[in-house]
Assembly symmetry: D2
Homo-oligomer: 333 residues x 4
């Protein structure tokens, strides 16, 4: 799903040109158009006739995107990085590696400072840049807007869409009219990745942000768009108006540099009490904004609100693309 979403977003991209598509041995040599296309509509014509190459560094362009399965990503991405490629990866393998940036351009573009460090330590001529787990992206964006008030404790319950599980992913029998009360590995990712993303690069490593965080992840019968119910405790006692203001003014490198995939604004606040909703809001603005609503006092932690983001776009393919655009803007590719 993420690979196809990437292909869809790279067609007609103003900066990048899709010159090379690689897959597993099984698909090697086949036309991309012969592989089953899971997104709406059809595989773009100009891509359909491309041959799928073998995924190895040789003939690949300098910048490569990886939507590889975690089972093979570690080895393959290392091979590409070693051979000099800039690997912009959606896989989870290197996200928590101390030398690898877990990048959200609006939040921690300075973590790109890890690149020379990883090159030195790992003897890579290229680099690996990762984007976070989908649920983590949306939460981190909202928390980043609150950094000035010092985030202390966070509780989040996610209501995640099925496209996040890939294809075939979840069985329809499990999902129709049902809630699945767990998603393997998801809570740990949210809890760990958020602290790295919000952490400070000091010397040669990222200091994990000291916030306490706890996640409960559930799966709901929604195709695209993860909803999150968040409660936050801040060191500083501020009004909901000040928080709202912080959400509205939040902006970062993508907006400043005018990256082609940058949402503007990156956080979209909804005044209506029954918004944001996955079906109505996730895909607007190209699916790259994070939607917030229902900001109000939390009797336990201080503040609570609802988050929504498009999991395969802002939470995966679009996140990788924005990372690559930042690399390009900084002339790192």
């Amino acid at each position: 799903m993420v690979g196809q979403q990437l292909v869809a977003q790279l067609v007609n991209h103003p900066w990048f040109q899709l010159t090379w598509i690689a897959g597993s041995e099984r698909s090697e040599g086949r036309r991309y158009g012969e592989l089953p296309w899971r997104l709406a509509g059809r595989v773009p014509n100009e891509i359909a006739k491309r041959s799928v190459e073998r995924a190895r560094p040789g003939a690949a362009p300098q910048l490569v995107f990886s939507a590889l399965d975690a089972a093979v990503a570690a080895e393959l991405e290392t091979a590409f990085a070693t051979a000099g490629h800039a690997v912009v990866s959606n896989a989870r393998n290197f996200r928590m590696d101390p030398a690898v940036p877990l990048l959200i351009p609006e939040i921690n573009p300075d973590h790109l400072g890890l690149v020379p460090i990883q090159q030195k330590r790992k003897k890579w001529r290229g680099a690996i840049i990762t984007n976070p787990n989908c649920s983590t992206v949306f939460l981190s964006m909202a928390l980043a807007a609150l950094r000035e008030f010092q985030v202390k404790r966070v509780l989040v319950t996610t209501l995640q869409a099925v496209s996040g599980a890939g294809y075939p992913g979840v069985s329809a029998l499990d999902m129709l009219g049902n809630v699945l009360p767990s998603i393997e590995g998801e809570e740990e990712k949210i809890e760990a990745e958020t602290r790295k993303i919000l952490g400070r690069l000091e010397g040669e490593s990222v200091m994990m942000h000291p916030l306490e965080i706890s996640a409960q992840a559930t799966r709901v019968p929604v195709a695209d768009g993860h909803t999150e119910a968040v409660s936050v405790e801040l060191e500083q006692r501020v009004s909901c108006e000040e928080i709202l203001e912080a959400f509205r003014e939040f902006s970062g490198a993508p907006q400043l540099c005018g990256l082609p995939s940058a949402p503007d604004p990156p956080l979209e606040y909804h005044e209506e009490v029954n918004r944001p909703q996955p079906r109505l809001d996730a895909e607007t603005n190209g699916g790259m904004a994070v939607h917030i609503g229902r900001l109000r006092p939390c009797p336990v932690l201080g503040y609570k609100f609802i988050l929504l983001g498009h999991n395969t776009i802002r939470g995966a393919a679009g996140a990788a693309l924005l990372n690559a655009e930042l690399l390009a803007a900084r002339e790192m590719v």
Copy 2:
């Protein structure tokens, strides 16, 4: 929905006999079988031919159940209580009235001590007994099992089924493949009612339990069964095993007195990581048990777990019925 569920549960009840059905003027005089039946299957034969009476005290039996809309419940229930009827109500109007028991027989059967007080204060010859809002029932049951460890703070996110909104309730266009991020009035009910239910009857009133509680309520595309993601802080530092033990040993008046609708056990713990689920678990055991799963440490509050209950049974019609059974067991009707 709740009225029909009650009718379905009163057919073949070992203690009670359904002798009188009343409705609004619009349905007065019609056969019950002519009104649209929203539950699976058909209206029970022996009930279908009954005439629907006008809802007024006159010819009503001593014990009446009220599934009235809040817009009319206050006035009508008062009329019945004044005239000497025991009103077992699912409406929200009197739930937070200091003289009215907000009853969950497993938790606070002693709150029935409010009955003589309400009769004195309100000059009722009868009485009004209420059951809580659906989401509150499930949460309170779990928290009651933890009372011995002193519950201090609770955060809950609910994923509620559409049957809780009545009929026609939520529009299919709003609900298909979607999450609605708010339910009017629900969070306030959960936050207030839980503290009353767990409160102590002292003298002539119930002291609200001092716990801090915050709820976020969402609606998901599920027919029956509310899921809740709960985090709890306890005064006492205990192990997850002790909590699990507390859940497993939890029991109360309904189990002790053998009330016909009492679930046994009242809290059913699921070991599997992907349970409980609405479609698989909500309706088992007659829909009267509260299901718990995924108990584990919460990095922020100490403990977290998943709850599930059948909203129109244990959360409404069955809750009222169990209340009436307790009244009968105590010879209060």
Copy 3:
């Protein structure tokens, strides 16, 4: 729903400019942006500030679109037509009126010849042009492509989306994980309207097409996109290849005149055995194409296939817009 879809499609329309929005007394004087917007995203900014006018001929522009409820459409549309407006209507009231064109520009643009007849007979200075019921549009488009082989008998089962029922429309409780086996009035509309659309204008009236047709209409838990399972008997014995060719070559006035909303091709045939699907195909190409798949022999009637169309676009708002574009191209407005 249809009115909002129309508004969305008229913003940035190359030929038309939205200058006037009218509604019921209840919404008169309010800003359009204050009314609840049911489509994805938000009401377009330039429209949100518009005042909603009272629906009466006075200040209205010459060309008006009507997405009125059938309960009021007859009277209001007559008033507008009498006052000289060209009313392009999605309401069902005048569809079967012998003097009113039931127009699908690809099929029967010559039925516009009824306009002078209706003006004479009804003493209208303006005119009323209608588009068919949603399911009828998709079926008629496919049958029109087969006209050369003389369509004799048609059996169709529809699996219709909930957006076709308006808002709030169908209850989520009725629709989640369910099929509703009837849709009021739908089968009659399909059976009658199809014969008028395919009929020949002779002198002052349209001769109903002699085909025999039977429809079964069901509602399924799909947001947008009606699926239809069709079996057809033709007078002429042709091969499936010839039919496929006819589908592929089908084209009409909108494609010829380059109407801005014309789909090209109007019928899109899908080779894959599991296509077309509502979620993947209904909205592609702006939602204006009719999708066909699974053409194969029918052991009973000769040929069978699957149809799909976007019910609120090609089946309603887009159908009206295309009709208006044809009027404009023919300088009738």
Copy 4:
């Protein structure tokens, strides 16, 4: 799914006792309770501790049920039949074998006359009895009631539930808010099996019923319960009342012999225009009745109506069980 449904129905069966459960090598030796249980609730306690045996004739009881995958059913069922077991099978492999009964006890109990023929021809000491494909069961039951009027032509569109595809079966991404317009092999099965079931046993073989039949099979987001839209042409011109009467009076061997799983009546006609519905009707009466509604004239073939049946009960596990009960009643096991 079918195997588990069978297990659930055999617990507490008045005639049969579940003494032996066999599975693939992978599950051999494991406790049945350790295997994932996909039905609501939990695996019955008395079954959970049973060891799963290897599926081979040796220690098996005389009567065995087969819910085997088609890939292995042919070989294994032959081995059991050869070894003297009565195999009551839900697999498709032998359904169209001229010597194997494709049995629906209400319709063709006399087809059991094939058993001595198969034993002779195939040198089996035991026997194989099959039940039809789920959609075929419901359609055949309705058509059997119309046999007296001579069924000539049948067109059916099915809207099938996901449980019919087994587990994990259909991907949630394909099914949420969607219709799948094809089900592999389903249409062919319906078209062929119906004619065998309604056929007459003459001498040593079943003469296929001469009716012409065409099916279109679709998958809809429903958990359990297949809906079918049927049009029928009869040789005899009868009124809808006569057909209704035929549906209502339809009955057969299971009702006559009082088989424990026999639904009574086997065909349940619903007067309401919006019934039957999968969520409200499929599971009533133990899921063994076939539900009919909306009988009305069909302008093309004469008569049309809606069918509904529970696909894993009456359409699979319950069908097999009823077949076994008939064998037992006839002392064939």
